[in-house]
Amino acid sequence: MYILKNSLVSIIRNKGRNILIGIIILVIACASTVTLAIRNTASTLVKNYEEAHDIIATISFNRKELASNFKGGEDAKKENIETFNNIESITLENVKNYGQSEYLKGYYYTYSTSLNSDTITKATDTYEYEVEDRQTTTNSTTTTTGGNGGNQGRGPGGGERHTVTNNETTTVITKSKEKFESSKNLTGDFQLDGYSSYDAMTDFVQGNYKVTDGEMISNFDTFECVVSSELATLNEITVGSTITLKNPNTETTYDFTVTGIYTDNQESDDSNSMFSKSANTIITGSGIIEKLVQEDSTLVTNITPSFIVNDENAIEDFSNQLKEKGLNEYYTINTNLDELKNATKSIENVKTFATTFLIITLIISAIVLLVINMINIRERKYEIGVFRTIGMSKLKLAIQFILELLIVSAVMLCIGAILGSYLSKPIGNMLLQNEIDSSQMQEEEISDNFGKGRTNGNEP
């Protein structure tokens, strides 16, 4: 007990020495708290980013691998194409099979097909119009009606023939359709992109597309859709309208309710078309495409799966597992890992700097404290001598000196930690404000891109 009492008396009556030690400890505590707070904030930001941005593995066609097997010569062309045709496309069943993996958190996919429509016009820079050709002859009494085969009024050069009987003259009217198109034609019909989840809608997540009117589909299995603003303008489609699409094979029609209209924000693409590539793309749920395929298995589809991998270490295992499950050698697994790492690189740099700064501060402070204490002990040699003379053991003497240092340290560490916690917020904000802002803005933007339709969960 007297050791503690003596330590307290010594601290109080040796103000100069203890204030000096206290200031150093205060600075250490303050700097350490600030540095730790910055480090923790950076860690939280990285963690939040990693939580918000999963490692996504996608399957892509390995064209390089295929090209390495190409053969030369005129006859080889057919063989090369056959090789290409023999590579099996990935089916929905494959994706569901691949998705059942212990290395995955989940998966989603975009299931696409194309449909026609009689009720809406696709956005295209081809313009077809009907022309009438009248030929009048005299002394003719009868003419035969009928067109030229299957091209009844549809293709260029096709048309309907009517016979007009005139007692004196016969007028032959030939109706045909002529085409006026840009030099770079847009091909295809309406592409129906069926998404299995909101995460699958990467163009909306990344801000390439944005719902500008109405909202995103709220159900992935009902006949709801979101159309492009270009298609909406051309066909005077509004939110709540119904559009009818037709299976090109079976002529079966499907009515879709338009829940929203989206705009393609990409400034340019690589085509010379007057419309964007997405103009004829209609967004719906993957369940709809599955229904269409169930009704007509010959419908041409395309599936783009995305697999949410557990962590960095699971990528290789998952890749090997897909090969074991029979993924063709011409397909390769790609991930967004580099992209994710690049995104958090600046925060990681701040974190590394903070850690390094903390270590250096602690080392320097430890050396300074050691030196001060060595000087302190030298200065107190007389005092030590007196204590030893009156019978104080070395152990008790050491305890008293350590206790003095601990008391000063504890008090100053508390003050330093409180002070540091006040300072850490503005300093942390100053260093990491851009990252915090961009993180918050990104969340808001994603939500905005989906209109009001997106809920917090992935599934509606």
Binding site: Y2, N6, V9, G385, R388, I390, G391
Partner: protein, 218 residues
């Protein structure tokens, strides 16, 4: 039988040649109730001998026997805070403490069982001629004589059998020296203490019972 005996004691510094002793073959005996003086010229090893008696140093040869026990086999911290009191020429008091705090600290270290340490400390101060007013003063606010009285009071705080004093009056004037010697005489005669004073003062030697002279080893 003496309470403290030096048997063939010799001392040599650790880094000194093997035959270079500060002193050798010292055979002194000290009894309770008597005052002793150890005198000698400067460099004769008086303070070193005192360090051996107080257990601050270990002798190179021979034995220091306290109450029949060899110091080498004793807990020297306990020996110093229970059995022997030391008074120095430079007082060796803690300047950051007050006079009374120095005495109470000594009692704390020795773990002496005293109900009211402050009261006991004041009594000891009174015995060496100091008032309550002196008790509250910091050490550096006291005169040399007063500081030496505090040092004596401190050495008595745990009631040791032996008091060793190293040039206790070396920094004091004649009158004060006589007052201090009176205190020591009182402690020896009335309180049965063994007082050993290291000195080269003739006045001190004139007031003690036995004088040991330490000669420089050639």
């Amino acid at each position: 039988m003496g309470i403290l005996k030096l048997e063939n004691v010799g001392y040599r510094y650790k880094d000194a040649p093997k035959d270079k002793y500060v002193f050798q073959n010292i055979n002194y005996e000290f009894e309770q109730g008597k005052m002793y003086a150890i005198k000698g010229k400067s460099g004769s090893g008086k303070t070193t001998l005192l360090s051996l008696i107080t257990g601050l140093e270990r002798c190179t040869e021979g034995n220091v026997i306290y109450n029949g026990k060899d110091l080498k086999k004793m807990n020297l911290d306990k020996y110093r805070n229970t059995d022997i009191g030391v008074v120095f020429q430079s007082y060796n008091l803690l300047p950051r403490l007050t006079a009374i705090e120095n005495i109470i600290l000594s009692m704390d270290i020795s773990k002496v069982k005293v109900k009211n340490k402050k009261q006991k400390a004041l009594e000891l101060m009174k015995n060496v001629g100091l008032s309550e007013e002196h008790a509250k003063r910091k050490i550096l606010k006291l005169s040399g004589g007063e500081q030496q009285r505090i040092a004596i009071a401190r050495s008595l705080s745990y009631n040791p059998n032996i008091i060793i004093a190293d040039e206790p009056t070396g920094n004091l004037d004649k009158d004060t020296e006589n007052e201090i010697l009176k205190i020591f005489a009182h402690l020896a005669k009335d309180e049965n203490k063994c007082i050993v004073i290291v000195t080269h003062s003739q006045n001190v030697c004139d007031n003690v019972d036995i004088i040991y002279e330490l000669n420089k080893t050639e």
